[in-house]
Symmetry: C2
Amino acid sequence: MPAIREVRLKSRPSGLPVHDNFEVATVDLADPGPGEVQVKNLWMTVDPYMRGRMNDVKSYAPPFQLGKVMDGGAIGQVTASNDPAFNEGDLVQSGFGWREGFNASAKSLQKLDPRDLPPQAFLGVAGMPGLTAYAGLLRIAALKDGDVVFVSGAAGAVGSLVCQIAKAKGHKVIGSAGGSEKVAFLKEIGVDHAIDYKAEKDLTQALLAAAPDGIDVYFDNVGGDHLEAALNAAKLFSRFAICGMISIYNATEPQPGPRNLAMLIGKNIRMEGFIVSHHFDMMPKFIEDLSGWVRDGKVTWKETVFEGIEKAPDAFVGLFKGENLGKMLVKLA
Amino acid sequence: MPAIREVRLKSRPSGLPVHDNFEVATVDLADPGPGEVQVKNLWMTVDPYMRGRMNDVKSYAPPFQLGKVMDGGAIGQVTASNDPAFNEGDLVQSGFGWREGFNASAKSLQKLDPRDLPPQAFLGVAGMPGLTAYAGLLRIAALKDGDVVFVSGAAGAVGSLVCQIAKAKGHKVIGSAGGSEKVAFLKEIGVDHAIDYKAEKDLTQALLAAAPDGIDVYFDNVGGDHLEAALNAAKLFSRFAICGMISIYNATEPQPGPRNLAMLIGKNIRMEGFIVSHHFDMMPKFIEDLSGWVRDGKVTWKETVFEGIEKAPDAFVGLFKGENLGKMLVKLA
């Protein structure tokens, strides 16, 4: 593997990212040094949260650097190893960004036991997006018996698992997504009411039609109008897990918050933001639960796959155009 | 007491309430019936939350009715009793609205033991506003050691007690209020940094100057710009107790929420609205703690008093003009 390609941040986007914000470079890969392992990536992930890191602002993760490779997770295979812990052919999980391969110290890699799952599932349903759904619904929103659950971005990697966990636990679930294909998928996974937000004039009305008595839990991937509708439909003591606000990630001006935020008071609503990295302690229990749900046919998932690292920018931009059904992935080999 | 005056809702306000929304009526008071008690009110309360009930919308409490007396709490004295549980001269707490006196069944009254406090304190620091401060800070915001606390509306009935409880527990406290008189009061009660928001161009900057490392707890009485600044200055895992949003109560159009609400996610902020009536279980412990703090000189309070029931509308409207320092009260006798 003498030469590999990688995707770098060429310029910072204003609004929706465009092709010109990225550049594909070819670099030579040296032989792995002492204690190092050489990895050929098979799959890489693009996720909405990466948009925030393209801006040059302080946040929970440092911004991507101009001229440097885009950060992110990948699943790869060991092609050469100078460390006894790894053998050629081992599957590994890593976080070295949008590239076809790399050398890294053995301790920066995690060996992957795929169990009965395809390896790329560990970038989606069995990875960070999966744990995000699990921790957000069960710990942040503190799901309890009888809760009516509303999920926005419900056909995405996180949202579709939130819906299915809630269904597996016997809840009434309302999911919102854009377009008939996504709505069909929501019905397929057993969501009680699927709202096509692109076809609705009044999201509050649509939500209240699906949940006339209101909602107890809102899992927010979208923000904006969806959050406003959820506040309108919220019951007393409802809990909102704020996971993402994809509706505003590409805004060039700060976007106003919901106009009905004062409803928090009278309805005693708890609204809590979270990022998954503070909930890694739940990973073992999550994988155990997930395996059971998959085995029992209670959890399934979709992938939208772009092929070739040169397509990674398209895959990423597609997230904000709603082009993905389930997890957006790039297949590298 | 053959004739008493009462204040009725004449018309619903659009925006800031005005005199013409109220009317003072004189009614004859019959002798108390069997099992009834006659009460002469000494003090009545006006509170910001009452503004919401002047609108004809469904909320946590039903709207006030046109032509009917304004609802609210009062402290009075028994003038005649047909129930063995009450004697002439007893102090009682009641919720029969803006009126000089009334007859009511004995079981709808609460006998008041003022301990060492003036009776009107039970409409303020030792009443609902006091419990609001206590429950909001200790239960909703879950105050813990080392927290830096920011309080808006800090010179009001609720806010000034929040500040003092936090100080009594050894916290760094930043309070915001409008005008030099209120700022002087905040310093008097030991607030570490008093922000005069009327004199500040940039509330975020002022807050970060007072708390360079950020805030852990925000007690919100105001909403709007204050909430936005608090989000900007919030630390990871900070907790916001959303008690009131007086900045928007009189808005005739829905007001946009904070433009930086997405900060909830990266900062893992918990934002929780509440109303005091769900926290009455804390009352005995609150009164016990409060008595200790008052005895030790750690809690004091201010009252702004209007005299005569005909002044009740002025007192009420004054709340939204920032005319009160501490609890706004109307002295009826």
